[in-house]
């Protein structure tokens, strides 16, 4: 079945089964590897993407449900890696293994788009679906505050 998707501002046509999750459309069909597979059941957040600006789990979003909505992935969050969160992530030196971080950044970006100056509690709520197995949560929180211009705020 052919679907024409709007991904990162570009129109892309894929011929895949209706039930195929966006995670695998992105990774295997479109060779966009930034969106990560972690659990396949929406429990880890590694596959977080935006659909019409809302953070969703790519592994739980069937391609047939996307329609004309705009899809943003980590590759399209900024043209050149200069989104405030991407810069803050490097400044704070967040990653250990780094595998979860694209999903973390996508969840954080959806949060900041709605809540430009989040509190710790708001950050915790927005990020609770994203596992960091290495345990870099303190730095993730700090980087979100820095990207929000909240430096020092809690």
């Amino acid at each position: 079945m052919a679907y024409t998707l709007k991904i990162n501002g570009k129109s892309q046509t894929v011929d895949v089964p209706a039930e195929m999750p966006m995670l695998w459309v992105l990774r295997d069909t479109l060779n966009m590897k930034g969106t990560k597979f972690g659990c396949g059941i929406g429990a880890c957040g590694a596959c977080t993407i935006h659909v019409d600006g809302v953070a969703v789990r790519g592994c739980q979003t069937q391609v047939s449900t996307v329609g004309t909505k705009t899809v943003t992935t980590i590759e399209g969050l900024s043209a050149d890696g200069t989104h405030a969160l991407q810069k803050a992530w490097q400044q704070v030196d967040v990653p250990q293994c780094g595998y979860c971080q694209a999903g973390q950044i996508m969840s954080a970006a959806a949060l900041l788009a709605k809540t430009p100056k989040p509190s710790d509690a708001q950050i915790n709520t927005a990020m609770t679906g994203n596992i960091c197995r290495c345990g870099t949560y303190l730095r993730i929180r700090e980087a979100i505050h820095i990207a929000a211009g909240n430096a020092g705020a809690k």
Binding site: W24, K33, A46, Q96, I140
Partner: protein, 803 residues
């Protein structure tokens, strides 16, 4: 900064493309000498062993430098740390450096392993030697060009300067000349180390070299490796360990949309007992194939989806009779008769000092407790995967392994290791899981079968990527061994510890025979027996042995301190201050030599790198180094003074502080944790302080702090939720829903980390921060609530995190 994947061909390419650039053949010493020696300007001596020429540094015409990291990267920051050591001694600026990743290549590199916190201690001096050699060559070239003594020359930022004549030359301009000079010998190199006080890169917080790629979603992980025409595979194994495929509906599977190939992979004859990790698994081995069904598609999702239609008749085999409940009840039965028996014949993991039974008789008070902790799965976030291309009798493989090539996947593909080219690709976490590379073995076999099918059909061969599902990963791990401990201790009228006994019915030989307080109590006994049958594969998980031992020992020591009416932190210090008189502590079995009184400060550690049998070691917490009470005291005193320990009596009701310390993998870590527990058994970790002694040099303080904080956060997973249970020979937990890692809302606002510099050789930090986190939290919960937590995870006992 860009990462560059180097292979043999790209080495060649770089040499020819970058005309004017020079690849320097340099040295790497063997690891054991580095660990065994101390002294010298860097606090450690360089290896004096005959060096092998290896490849680490490329000098580009624009005076930038490609510096090779030879080790796997699974999140410990080796792609920073090892090149930082080279670059600092080479005396170039970090901004002039691009890091490249080496392939597995025994002809060029030694010790290409991520495990046992060994990368830093084993490579600290050899990588510095590489850098020094490069610097000496540049200086030698300038001295020859200018006809001045090398001693008049200085270096910095990749430039050699002769101050007297005001001449300068970039390394790039000197490279051609340097290439004509003999390589400096080991003696010259070892005489030319920088004074660590003058380091410009080492000891500075240098951000991860791949942070930009990670933050922008570039395909840097093993699971991201892709090629045109590549196929995707899943591999269905028996849920019961050791089970085998009898038959499968392969014809139906092959008719499903998108499915290209489906076939049975047979297991070779059962492996020798104990081959895989510590568990003598029946027919399950990390070194050979496991029986299963491979399904191959041009989409992983379609291959995985086809598993829903898969009908396999399994021969479950004998392990189907085993269960976690059975292990625990057997342990309890054994304890009723065995706990009072001294270790028979110095049996495995035993220790006997003094006479515990006599001491119990004369004790003012005795304390008894049963502790246990479960099997755990590593659960790195990137599921197991590997990519292989079998073509013309050769295998090329892209692997996230922590110990690439061991076992070599060649055998599974019917090849010899010489026929295999192995690329080391960044892994999304390891934690010991990727010391067992079944996925490499499986993909090697699957890739060969697929290539042969394609050749028969007149098709070109293609690479095949195998990805395990999360469910595969939890069901087929090499689990952290469970532990069952039956303790008894005696104290005298003053509260002094007089006798300590632990009986350990064991599933994988992990025993605290050499653990503190052995060496600091006049009567100490550890004995144990094996639980049989036990055929669940076990292996090394972050901080093997101490990751569970620390919980039971540091919790029970806490119980003793409370029973004695003492400050638990001071009680530990008092114990450390009163070692048994040498040559006490005749620990029997493999734990011998640990904890026998207070070893001389600076006693030389010896190397004992991880092997596939690592999880079965009796005491594996120190890379063989002796426990040093002085270092343990330093971290305890430091954490006491940096925290609000002394004011803990002022904390509100329901809030308390716990302490612990642990010697693990040559590092010493102490925690103080402040936690609260409410009436609904909701736990909040409020504040955390960590004091860490990893020797005289923290190579990258940014990554080091991150690893300590991450170790604590992992400890929170251990205490609250993590448990693998076995029911009828198979794992019960399916996915993160039943195996919840710590989430952001649960972590405290701050985890304060202080590195205590000491005179000892620098060591690694992947492991030491995890083990003591667990008892520190448990002890804080006791202080807050009066409830002693003696089995993990506590989520099973009605507790949850407050958010």
């Amino acid at each position: 900064m860009n990462m560059k994947q180097l292979d043999r061909r790209s080495f060649f390419k770089i040499s020819t493309l970058a005309s004017g650039g020079v690849m320097i053949g340099l040295y790497s010493g063997s690891v054991t000498e580095t660990l065994a020696q101390q002294g010298g300007r860097g606090g450690q001596a360089g290896p004096a062993a005959a060096p092998n020429p290896n490849f680490y540094i490329t000098i580009n015409p624009d005076n930038t430098f490609i510096v090779v990291n030879k080790n796997p990267e699974t999140g410990q920051g080796m792609r920073n740390a090892l090149p930082m050591l080279i670059a600092d001694e080479l005396d170039v600026d970090w901004k002039q450096v691009k890091v490249a990743q080496a392939d597995l290549d025994a002809n060029k590199y030694t010790g290409q392993i991520e495990g046992g916190s060994t990368a830093i201690p084993n490579n600290y001096m050899p990588m510095r030697q590489v850098g020094v050699a490069g610097r000496l060559m540049m200086v030698g070239a300038a001295a020859a060009n200018w006809n001045v003594p090398a001693t008049e020359l200085t270096t910095g930022a990749g430039v050699v300067t002769h101050a007297a004549s005001r001449r300068t030359a970039t390394y790039a301009s000197l490279a051609a000349k340097a290439a004509t000079l003999p390589l400096p010998d080991a003696a010259a190199i070892n005489a030319a180390f920088k004074d660590p006080k003058t380091f410009k890169i080492v000891g500075k917080p240098i951000p991860g070299v791949e942070n930009f790629e990670i933050a922008t979603g570039k395909p840097v992980f093993s699971i991201d490796v892709a090629f045109p025409g590549m196929l995707y595979a899943v591999f269905e194994k028996c849920p019961v360990f050791g089970g085998k495929v009898m038959s499968a509906n392969l014809d139906e599977i092959r008719k499903l949309p998108g499915i290209k190939y489906a076939f049975v992979v047979d297991a070779p004859p059962p492996a020798a007992a104990g081959q895989r990790g510590g568990g003598p698994a029946i027919g399950v081995s990390a070194t050979t194939l496991t029986s299963g069904v491979a399904i191959v598609s041009d989409s992983w999702w379609m291959a995985n989806n086809a598993r829903k239609s898969l009908k396999i008749v399994w021969d479950n085999g004998p392990v189907a009779a085993e269960s976690s409940e059975g292990f625990l009840s057997q342990a309890r039965t054994q304890a009723t008769t065995g706990a009072s028996q001294p270790p028979a014949g110095g049996g495995r993991g035993g220790a006997a000092v003094g006479n515990v039974d006599a001491a119990f008789q004369s004790a003012a008070k005795t304390i008894e407790a049963e502790y246990h902790f479960p099997l755990l799965s590593h659960a790195p976030l990137e599921p197991q995967n590997s990519t292989a291309h079998f073509k013309d009798g050769k295998l090329e493989i892209w692997s996230p392994s922590q110990i690439p090539g061991l076992p070599n996947p060649a055998a599974a593909a019917g090849l010899t290791p010489a026929d295999v080219t192995m690329h080391l690709v960044r892994a999304g976490g390891g934690f010991g899981r990727r010391l067992y590379s079944e996925y490499d073995i499986e993909v090697a076999k699957i890739a060969r079968v697929v290539s042969e099918e394609r050749v028969k059909a007149g098709l070109a061969t293609v690479p095949v990527k195998l990805i395990w599902s999360r469910e595969d990963d939890l069901a087929h791990d090499d689990y952290r061994p469970a532990g069952y401990h039956f303790f008894k201790a005696g104290i005298d009228a003053t509260g002094k510890l007089t006798a300590f006994r632990d009986f350990v019915p064991s599933a994988a030989g992990v025993s605290p025979a050499g653990e503190f307080p052995n060496g600091f109590v006049p009567n100490f006994q550890v004995s144990g027996v094996n639980i049989t049958p036990f055929n669940i594969p076990t292996g090394a998980m972050r901080a093997p042995s101490t990751n569970g031992i620390s919980f039971v020992m540091q919790s029970f020591v806490d119980e003793i301190a409370i029973a004695a009416g003492k400050d638990p932190l001071q009680y530990r210090l008092d114990l450390l201050n009163s070692p048994n008189a040498p040559p006490a502590a005749a620990a029997a079995g493999a734990g011998a030599g640990r904890g026998g009184g207070a070893p001389a400060p600076g006693a030389a550690p010896t190397a004992a790198g991880p092997t596939p049998g690592y999880g079965g070691l009796t005491v594996a917490n120190g890379n063989g180094a002796p426990f040093n009470a002085a270092r343990a005291k330093v971290v305890l005193e430091t954490v006491r003074d940096m925290s609000t320990w002394k004011d803990r009596a002022k904390l509100p009701k329901g809030t308390g502080m716990g302490v612990s310390f642990q010697f693990a993998h040559n590092g010493y870590v102490a925690y103080v944790v402040q936690a609260s527990v409410d009436a609904a058994k909701k736990i909040k970790v409020e504040r955390v302080w960590a004091a860490v002694d990893i020797g005289n040099q923290v190579v990258n303080p940014s990554q080091a702090e991150n690893l300590v904080q991450g170790g604590f956060v992992e400890g929170m997973s251990h205490i609250m939720n993590w448990e693998i249970t076995i029911d009828k020979g198979a794992v019960t937990q399916k996915n993160f829903g039943q195996y919840q890692p710590t989430r952001m809302a649960q972590v405290p606002p701050k985890i304060e980390v202080k590195f205590v510099p000491t005179l000892y050789s620098t060591t690694g930090l992947g492991e030491p921060s995890l083990p003591p986190a667990v008892p520190a939290i448990a002890n804080a919960i006791f202080a807050a609530s009066g409830v002693r937590l003696r089995s993990l995870p506590v989520g099973k006992q009605g507790y949850s995190w407050a958010t």
